[in-house]
Amino acid sequence: MSDSGKTRKPALSTRRKASSRREFIRSAMLATGVVTLSLAGLLPVMAGTVNRLRPPGALKNLKNEQKFLAACIKCGQCVQVCPVNAIKLADLDEGVGLGVPYIDAREQACDFSCDGLQCVLACPTGALTHDLDYPADARMGFARLARPESCLAVQGKGFKGVARGKDFKGVLRYDEIDRWNPIPVAEHPYDLELCDLCVRQCPIEIRITQCVEKEKQRDAARKAGTLARVAEEFGNECPPRHAIELRPVSSEDSEGNSVVRMLPTVLDGCVGCGVCEMICPVDGEAAIVVDDDKQTNWG
């Protein structure tokens, strides 16, 4: 009794041998199948079709998001903290990009109305780099006037009404209306002699204007001998460079007369947030779009 099963290996019957062989083959097939399927997730990445506008601070450079896709733990905490719900998570068609955050600027751009880059702060893995302190340091992409022929400013046209129609779901923060809560673009009609929405709503340009105002207040406070707050004193949230402006360009109309047109011109302070692409009131695709960035180098 005591030595049974200890010294001799029990001989397997032919039937059990065959069944264990079948199990081995099944297991090998399962392993091959599942690994092949998981590797299929690399295809969209290798084909380069998954590069998209990512939240600020994403570890990426032009056409290489490898670090970002690897560092992201796919939890969506960035999605949850965004006050304008600009961030979405990618689906299975993006392979290993599944669950990784992206921004569809035409639908809802990042307007930095959180002020503090909440998504960067929320990121548990540093896939959105913590080296980023201020919106002006971000480089999500770079705006480009892709369809100048449809641009209202180029045509010398004004704009009256709501920018994207009354059914548009996107929101923006309008400081003059509510400093803390973004409101639907559809509830904010414009009446402009010359359309300058891309410049008017650019968060960088808005901030620069505010900074100029603050500087005036600071100087007045200094003159009056009252102590200004540290942030007012140093203005370290002030974007150092302009992002976009309307530049006059001379051209000829169909009758050969010289006319001056206003051309939205993207400057090197552009952070690629996509607000210009969202707000652009032309039908269909925007006249100005944000390209996958050429100058990011967080990676």
Binding site: A31, V96, L98, G99, A122, T125
Partner: protein, 323 residues
């Protein structure tokens, strides 16, 4: 030490070690001998019938409620902005504290080859939490795919009973092979390859952020489990299970077996997700009168619920010394 070694051996796919009969304690041998010829079918049925009426499925009920509550808390935290549990199963913040799923964190570390402090904090917190709570407790008490798979399992068992489908088993070492492959793939490719097909992450995100195409993959897995192989993903593939089973080797929360009243009829093994851990309930297979179930056990409590003689119970190792 023996518990850890034996547990790990089972986790990585080996059969439980047969006890050396010469080393089995006399008390256990007497218990086995005393049952000879006494365990009649009628007696067994009587005990089972009595058991049904008492607290059948108590732990399953508690577990399902916990699992649903945790996943609903994720959803509610986001939808109503209550900020209790933000994020998803892969990484989250519970009242501000970082939590990171150990396996997802491991994939990220291997692929990205760089670890930020937040991730270290999140991983440590979760490690300590599951160390205290039992390791694979994650699987049965929290993982949303586990519940879907459990429902699919009922369908599968019904179809098997009707002789419409047959269960196909795989070798349990396949899961260890997957573990190594997925770790290597993350390390070599630089992408978190496993996360793409992990139903845990997919289902968790679908609950919180809304459904997507990825649920098709989860559906396919469930169909595979219903029509081909019982609980195939959890049993033979998922590396998350291995990660937490390793943590569980050092956990005080275990299911404990007492051989005294056991009928060895095997009801516990029939309901178990990982029946190899319950091989010790087979007559002659226990090493001692009281023995803890290996750490591959998900602490789901199905065996505790189903055991007609109360021979399987939860225990917290070391707690009896304090009480």
């Amino acid at each position: 030490m023996n518990y850890i070694k034996e547990s790990l051996s089972q986790v990585f796919g080996n059969k439980p070690t047969r006890p050396d009969k010469s080393k089995q304690p006399e008390a256990l041998k007497e218990i086995y001998a005393s049952k000879r010829g006494k365990l009649t079918k009628a007696a067994l049925e009587a005990v089972e019938l009595e058991h049904h009426g008492t607290f059948f499925r108590k732990w399953q009920r508690r577990r399902w409620i916990t699992l649903i509550l945790v996943n609903v808390l994720f959803l509610v935290s986001y939808k109503f902005d209550v900020q209790l549990l933000e994020g998803a199963m892969t990484a989250s913040r519970f009242i501000g504290f970082h939590f990171a799923d150990l396996n997802s964190a491991l994939q990220v570390m291997l692929a990205y080859k760089h670890v930020v402090l937040n991730l270290v904090i999140g991983t440590t917190t979760v490690f300590v939490m599951w160390l205290l709570l039992g390791g694979r407790t994650f699987c049965s008490w929290v993982c949303p795919y586990h519940l879907l798979s459990e429902w699919a399992e009922y369908l599968h068992l019904w179809l098997v009973k009707k002789k419409i489908v047959k269960n196909h088993t795989f070798h349990r070492k396949t899961r260890s092979v997957f573990y190594v492959i997925f770790a290597l793939l993350a390390l070599l490719s630089g992408y978190t390859v496993f996360e793409t097909i992990s139903p845990t992450g997919i289902v968790s995100r679908a609950i919180i952020y809304g459904p997507g195409l990825a649920l098709i993959w989860v559906g396919a897995l469930l169909l595979f489990e219903v029509f081909y192989s019982r609980r195939a993903w959890c049993r033979y593939v998922c590396p998350i299970g291995i990660t937490y089973a390793v943590v569980g080797t050092m956990s005080p929360v275990r299911v404990s077996y007492n051989a005294e009243a056991c009928h060895h009829e095997g009801d516990c093994r029939k309901v178990c997700l990982v029946p190899h851990v319950l091989d010790l309930t087979i007559r002659g297979m226990a090493h001692d009168v009281n023995q803890d179930v290996g750490s591959d056990c998900t602490r789901c409590g199905m065996c505790v619920d189903v055991c007609p003689t109360d021979s399987l119970n939860y225990k917290i190792k070391g707690l009896d010394k304090f009480l």
